[in-house]
Symmetry: D2
Subunit: 393 residues, 4 copies
Amino acid sequence: MSGKYDVAIVGGGVIGGSIAFQLAKRNARVIVLEKERIANEASSAAAGMLGAQSEFSNDYPLLSNEAYPCQKCSSTPCFLPLALKSREMIVSLAEELKELTGIDIGLVQKGILKIALTEEEREALQRNNEFWQRIGQPAQWLSSEEVADFEPNVTKNLRGALYLPNDGQVSAPDLSHAFANASLVYGAEWREFTEVFDITKEGTSYRLHTNNGVVHAGAVVVAAGTWSARLLEKTGISLSMYPVKGECVLVKVEKPLIQATIFAKNGCYIVPKRGNRLLIGATSTPHTFDKKVTVEGMMSLLERAQQLLPDIRAAEWERAWAGIRPQTGDGVPYIGEHPHYPNIWIATGHYRNGILLSPITGIIVADLVGGKGSNEFDLAPFSLTRHQATYKL
Amino acid sequence: MSGKYDVAIVGGGVIGGSIAFQLAKRNARVIVLEKERIANEASSAAAGMLGAQSEFSNDYPLLSNEAYPCQKCSSTPCFLPLALKSREMIVSLAEELKELTGIDIGLVQKGILKIALTEEEREALQRNNEFWQRIGQPAQWLSSEEVADFEPNVTKNLRGALYLPNDGQVSAPDLSHAFANASLVYGAEWREFTEVFDITKEGTSYRLHTNNGVVHAGAVVVAAGTWSARLLEKTGISLSMYPVKGECVLVKVEKPLIQATIFAKNGCYIVPKRGNRLLIGATSTPHTFDKKVTVEGMMSLLERAQQLLPDIRAAEWERAWAGIRPQTGDGVPYIGEHPHYPNIWIATGHYRNGILLSPITGIIVADLVGGKGSNEFDLAPFSLTRHQATYKL
Amino acid sequence: MSGKYDVAIVGGGVIGGSIAFQLAKRNARVIVLEKERIANEASSAAAGMLGAQSEFSNDYPLLSNEAYPCQKCSSTPCFLPLALKSREMIVSLAEELKELTGIDIGLVQKGILKIALTEEEREALQRNNEFWQRIGQPAQWLSSEEVADFEPNVTKNLRGALYLPNDGQVSAPDLSHAFANASLVYGAEWREFTEVFDITKEGTSYRLHTNNGVVHAGAVVVAAGTWSARLLEKTGISLSMYPVKGECVLVKVEKPLIQATIFAKNGCYIVPKRGNRLLIGATSTPHTFDKKVTVEGMMSLLERAQQLLPDIRAAEWERAWAGIRPQTGDGVPYIGEHPHYPNIWIATGHYRNGILLSPITGIIVADLVGGKGSNEFDLAPFSLTRHQATYKL
Amino acid sequence: MSGKYDVAIVGGGVIGGSIAFQLAKRNARVIVLEKERIANEASSAAAGMLGAQSEFSNDYPLLSNEAYPCQKCSSTPCFLPLALKSREMIVSLAEELKELTGIDIGLVQKGILKIALTEEEREALQRNNEFWQRIGQPAQWLSSEEVADFEPNVTKNLRGALYLPNDGQVSAPDLSHAFANASLVYGAEWREFTEVFDITKEGTSYRLHTNNGVVHAGAVVVAAGTWSARLLEKTGISLSMYPVKGECVLVKVEKPLIQATIFAKNGCYIVPKRGNRLLIGATSTPHTFDKKVTVEGMMSLLERAQQLLPDIRAAEWERAWAGIRPQTGDGVPYIGEHPHYPNIWIATGHYRNGILLSPITGIIVADLVGGKGSNEFDLAPFSLTRHQATYKL
């Protein structure tokens, strides 16, 4: 950690890793400072769904009761374009990362099936389907019979389903480690067990004060998930962020039960993983940093999974874990420059879309740091100053 | 493994360990042959209850439909005397093993509380209570209010409970390892990863054929749990034995919820363990050797535990496991001499009472091997020839 | 396990899995009987080197002191053709398995570098090089300077190295699980925790007696590694086989230290694995089934690795393990029909070449079982009757 | 975390736990705030030696080159009295904690044997022996022959040894958890995953700002190990503290090799633990928070252990870990009141003596918080103001 870096990235999760990879590839001298291990938090805990479409619905808060209405995309959640682009990027990225690091990110492109268990859910999903048809994104309504043909092990007790064929999934820990290792190939440096306490200005550069001494860098990227808010308070801004604990379980079946990811309104999803594993997620407990898996969380996941996929009762239990996801007050990530300090960039608050948005976030932030701006996307909705409340005067 | 041993014990679980300990203490030259690791199977998976009374009830099969009626104890299950004696032995044994090995076996003497959730269960438990009063064993009926006073976190939705104050519990893995290490102190030898394929006669002694060569011994004890039956087939007897898989889960609470072990008719028990852990057991799946924990097993355990102890929902999940317990056709262990070969002794089939019965089984088998017989107990009910069907002519 | 299977395979390791895959793909009704879990033994413990060339040297025992001289390949170890073919197959197999199961077998094709640390080793490796040149297999001698250019982190204290560019490597556990899961896709059934005790004839078919009942099959394949010998004794043959324990350690480096696998005469190899891991193997302890990792084993591995790759001292320790590899008396696997029973086939004794030989063994045995014989290879050297001593009359 | 606590303790290690236990026992309303899990850092990593004498030697820095000379104990390291008292307390504490929590802290009172491998070490140890004789603490010089009698497996290649019979050992994780659970019995509250960012004054009380909201308390104890320094900087003092990583390994032997703890000048010790384990410690790497176990660290530990106890080569490897110990600039812990804020107390910097000193630290801090002061000990050497440099004006 000697000399001066072009960019110091705070946070070694999937977002920090993707940014480090893109910057190092462009020949920036990059250092990543991670308080624990690579992908220690949400990035390893995630289910890895690439739900560019499945995460968005007509009743998505951004459409109706959003405090900061996006002027450009009145009928579209304003980060849908980023999500679609990021999902598209993943195919070539999977190859590139495999080539560079030997790590297979586990990309599966079998779609996500959003199940309607009630009449109300059926109506909502069908409205959602119309939306996708309108904007020209692939989506297909399946009747109960068609669902039974397509995924014969899914419950028969349903009202049809919306199939989103382009929403794939990856292995979240593998993607996170692949970004990190690929950045190493391009010369990035990583420091684990290195916590950044404060950032101070030093002429036109910055000093990052860590438990391992001071790091000097021309630009800083804060991509520390829920932990970003506290660090940024030192720099005079108070982001509206809070942690949301999510519990998951992993089980193993003797033969594949499903091809697509199964997704239900009640917040339950079942993602088929390598080696006949099924990942069942996720509970949502806001405002806690604890990573304890509770009996209650496990029971609710298993009960809901069993409702969707009855044969899961015979599955073999493997393990359970919890992750802490960074949510923002309005549900939209923060991607942009620090309102007070030039060349401090923030990329955090991706909540449950961090894996999905990591490819495009890497490109956008690398563009921003490199002074290129982002011609393709309107980044105003992600700005740190979108609410006055985001920073103290 | 050179020279000739006085006794070769097949099986390094809690029964084999207890026998090895008692024999080595009496200066026998002992070798224990274990196909995997010490206490690899049921002995490490057990909950460790010392249910000398709680395991016996009026409707216990031995009382009514037992094929081999015990003449002595017509109204008493015939291994109750062994169970009571074994439970009594555990206190001094705990001290002895701690002194010899430094291992604390986790003895807790806070009793077992058998909960009546239905009127039918209440009546059965009250009859059971009368039985204990009649034979002079401590037992106390608690009304719902008294249960609420004694164990305030137990469900209020009950019809009273039978409290058996002398039924304690230990840490099953610690007891098993303590026996093994204590036998080492007295000079016993242990060979892990050593499977016995066959036993053949060699004059008045025996040869044990293993994957690590031949062991010579004057006497043999087969204490290999469910795996005993197959080995003994080589010696011309066909024991009526089958495996019963039992799944358990361990959770952690912030503060102790119970003092006593909670035991319900529906086969669920909750045992308070060190460090605010609660061990919840156990499912019962006969005729399988697989040690997979299933989603179904876990869900049934958690649901039943929650019914008994509602606050368990907030507990932290720790882990789940399964063990294979050796059950016999009539539910009574085999303890006795081989019907064809002198000085081959069998001690197996303890099913879910292996931890409880291990102290007395160690003494009885050491007596038998030493030629002392057992004056204190009638061992006829445990004989291998109690049913003609137990051996082929 | 009802009805009758075309083929029952005993052993769920990489060999049994490869055979199950090839047979199921040809529409045979296949069942695999595994005493523990899939790939529980050597298949998961292996380093995964595809050392078709690196495992063979001029002083290879087969050339000089082989009791059963191969008439055809007088100057060539007689299973070299199989090894070369198997190595060639792995590329398309990797794609096929990924497609069918989603499992990436971790194929790396960066070659193996055989280091000469002494003058004697240099001479032996150079003679070996001449052999490869003579038979037209790629091999290249590198001077010390060339080694330093090619692998700058390898010790400078060497006398050159032989580079075998086509000897790649895979992840042994991933290959094993991929075979198993691919066979499931083609309809094979797997039974874990199912031990086969005996095989008896039933007309023109066989009964396999297991701890889970009897399985009926037209043909049987015994691919149970070191455990094969004991089962086959029941069928009247005594294979010359013994277990060889091998210990390995896995460490993690911050940046890749090597591209190729490094291989030294003193029995030490360092294989670069995904995520900047280095797998260091392997010790060799014959005649034990125990899977304990000893302090001595670990120290010898770390010392030898450090001699080859000094920077490994700064690596992070991850884990150590041991596997039990099936060795035969003459070092050649057994692949062929049972000498007494038609349609019982044996495929075992692959020792440290099981991963390498698994693709071709799957094809050969599927051909044999299917009655096609093997036109391509002379299987006489692998015959069970190559030594009279292999079976009792 | 509602209402106001009498005392909020920052840090849930062995020191925080011991203080919580003593305060809760005295009926204080106590809350412990722990950023991760109970005993997450050094408290669980420690070897558990109670080296009240073995940690002190003639050449101990406090005697000669100490910047702050203790006036009272000119010839005695000034925290020796605390160490001796704390060691004495452990016996009754072991019983008290077992009674309250069921946790056996694994107290072994077989002494520590300090080995002289060189003539120089022999002389130093003999001078040390004279010191103990002078102040009346038990110590015994053993010749090489006597060592061979007492511990026959220790290397014969030595120059005698100093035996300190009263220096026992405990299980560090068990002691830490026993303190925590015992404090819970007395009504203390614990909050894991709760990081304290800042402490601010609120009238005569304090507010602790955490990631889970604000805690109000009349008094505060900072016992957060190496992490204390950073928190205290917020309150205007700059403690002279740094982290020292220590790596340990645990191995298992078939039979006990040693009774006493073996301790060598070269910084290596071997502590016999339950179940025939041997704990080998510890390396010393200052100024890092990383908890990676390195190949280099492991090799040095194993080599040194083998030098002391040759038979350890045959031991079974179990695991390795690292802990971060809080060292101070002058090697003396900080125990005392905050120089600026009344009722903020500090207890940290115990370095490698945290387990040993935890009993007495609990008593001293409970006395201080309770306004009793400490009549028995001169606490001046532990004062935060012992060096002017410890706080910024």
